[in-house]
């Protein structure tokens, strides 16, 4: 009745088959999770130079010395985490709000130029970021003179086309009759949006929020380009600097890597459903 012949084999045969499958899946999962495992267990080692340590696959020692080594490297190391939180928080809020608005207009309102405008937006998704990186850098640094500020970190990401697209995809499944009856009842456009559309779009708003926060937290390239003092850097840029300044300190480097990765693990485990949903919302009927 399905791809697998559930009806032909015996019950024991099915159990055996599934056991084999689970073992295979676990083996491959071990291989892909190994770097993360290795990062976390190694971060609890002593902060000594690499020549003196031997890598071990099992947690041998438990000390937080390497973490304090990482934080003591720069007096701004706490600032990096704060900066990342501020930037990621800001773009998350603006993306959720403005992408939902634009997605609503593009999916539910009829106005002149809607189709053309949306096609132009979509076309941007095909352009590699290498094309915009140089002009964007010139714009921020030479024209606006706002390098090394929060504005430089936040402005280009205020609302992304991808998020508008996600919102539009999701909202096309909301029945239009709801809006029509609201209009008949005398609701204004703003009321329709805030009282009807937003409550019905909680899922896609959560998906947008999570994906945007994660992308922003993990992004390295743009903050690396537009920040030039330690106090304005984000955790990813700080981590890279730490690495180049301490090339031989294995455990502290793993501690830094863990610090930059763990907030996203926590977010993922607590909001897993939305993460996984986000993957398919964007891909179906692209």
């Amino acid at each position: 009745m399905s791809l697998y012949n559930n009806n032909t084999g015996s019950r024991a045969g099915k159990t055996a088959r599934n056991t084999v499958i689970v073992v295979l899946l676990l083996l491959f999962a071990l291989a892909t999770l190994f770097p993360i495992y290795f990062m976390v267990i190694s971060s609890f080692g002593d902060p000594v130079e690499a020549g003196a340590v031997s890598y071990s696959l099992w947690p041998g020692k438990f000390t937080l010395e390497s973490y304090s080594f990482f934080f003591n490297y720069s007096k701004y190391s706490y600032r990096w985490i704060l900066n990342s939180t501020i930037v990621a928080g800001a773009v998350t809020i603006t993306n959720v709000f403005f992408a939902t608005m634009a997605g609503y207009a593009f999916s539910k309102l009829r106005f002149k130029g809607r189709g053309v405008l949306f096609s132009i937006l979509l076309a941007a998704m095909m352009i590699p970021y290498q094309v915009t990186q140089v002009p964007l850098y010139i714009l921020i640094v030479n024209t606006f003179h706002i390098e090394n500020t929060f504005s430089a970190l936040i402005l280009p990401g205020l609302v992304t086309v991808y998020n508008v697209f996600l919102a539009k995809q999701f909202m096309s499944s909301i029945p239009t009759e709801i809006m029509e009856s609201a209009k008949v009842e005398g609701c204004s456009q703003l009321q329709i949006f805030f009282r009807i559309i937003m409550p019905l779009s909680k899922t896609v708003m959560a998906v947008i929020a999570i994906l945007t926060f994660m992308d922003s937290w993990n992004t390295f390239f743009w903050p690396f380009l537009v920040t030039n003092t330690m106090d304005m850097q984000t955790i990813q840029v700080g981590l890279k600097n730490f690495r180049f300044a301490n090339t031989t300190y294995f455990s502290p480097m793993m501690a830094g890597a863990t610090i930059s990765a763990v907030p996203m693990f926590i977010l993922f485990f607590s909001l897993q459903k939305y993460f996984l949903e986000g993957v398919t919302v964007g891909a179906v009927k692209g």
Partner: protein, 300 residues
């Protein structure tokens, strides 16, 4: 993309004029300033020798210099090698994992989806640091220990031009396939049971069903994943930059990294802009080619 075909009368409501545009205003302004303007500006800069105070127009010189540059062709070759070695393997692995997850109970499916997705949420900088140590050239390095079990000798993985590219490829093979696994699984669950029922009546085996039902049904999904993976792979930058810096001896200099170096190491903005537009053109052509030759019977 299905934008032009909207025959259903009731799918849109008439807006109130000004409000329609107010809803999209911020998105459009941000887009105009930080995407549209930079793209246009990239065209202009690519014909200039850029200087902060007054650039000079130099025609097609940046393009001509690029095509004469051995390093540019080398970087194209490296990018193609990397793409050919990583993308098909990644798709095959995701497909196989999705097929294996399919018969499991719902709960177990979710567990595996989450497990395979976990590396996606870890920061790329953090993971590249870990891989740097996994590839440690000393005999105690994790990867050297691993190949030692099979009797192979120590390698200077990232430090030798013979193995540096291969090391980046291994890293790609063992990193996150989470998203494509989930997309494949969703597509697998969407295949209508009646196909399998008909096949069962004909006494089709597992492999026959896989070949005649599953693979054709998943063609649109495969095409989508293939196109997006190739686009992503042509832009690859971060791992090469953080792990090898393009070296040794430019063995891992991909186009994305070359453009970065030209722009932010040598400050040749004009040349970088020209190269980025050539890259955009290559990506557009490759995507078009795939849609044309692989997507014949796929509607999008």
């Amino acid at each position: 993309m299905a934008q032009s075909a909207q025959p259903a009368k009731k799918s849109k409501i008439k807006g109130d004029g000004v409000w329609d545009y107010a809803f999209i205003a911020v998105a459009l302004i941000v887009y105009a300033m930080f995407t549209a303007y930079p793209v246009l500006s990239a065209f202009i800069i690519s014909f200039q020798e850029y200087k902060p105070l007054g650039s000079t127009y130099i025609g097609f010189d940046n393009y001509a210099a690029t095509f004469k540059d051995d390093l540019f062709w080398r970087s194209i070759k490296n990018t193609i090698v990397y793409t050919v070695l990583t993308v098909p393997v990644a798709l095959l692995l995701s497909f196989l994992v999705a097929i294996m997850i399919l018969p499991l109970r719902k709960k177990l499916q979710t567990v595996f989806k989450a497990v395979y997705y976990l590396p996606v949420v870890a920061s790329g900088v953090a993971l590249s640091l870990v891989w740097l140590w996994i590839f440690d050239p000393m005999p105690g390095g994790i990867f050297n220990q691993f190949i030692g079990w099979f009797g192979a000798h120590n390698q200077n993985w990232l430090g030798s031009s013979a193995t540096a590219m291969f090391s980046l490829v291994i890293m790609a093979w063992l990193s996150s396939h989470g998203a494509s696994i989930i997309i494949y699984l969703a597509a697998l669950l969407g295949i209508d049971d009646s196909y399998y029922e008909a096949a069962d009546l004909d006494g089709a085996s597992f492999l026959q069903k896989l070949w005649h039902i599953v693979i054709p049904s998943l063609k649109p999904t495969t095409l989508f994943l293939l196109v997006t993976a190739i686009i992503g792979s042509f832009q690859v930058f971060q791992n090469a930059y953080l792990m090898t810096g393009g070296g040794p001896d430019h063995a891992t200099t991909m186009v994305g990294l070359l453009i970065f170096d030209n722009a932010f190491k040598y400050f040749e903005f004009g040349k970088a802009a020209a190269q980025s537009l050539i890259l955009a053109l290559i990506i557009a052509l490759v995507s078009l080619f795939q849609f044309k030759f692989l997507g014949k019977d796929v509607d999008y």
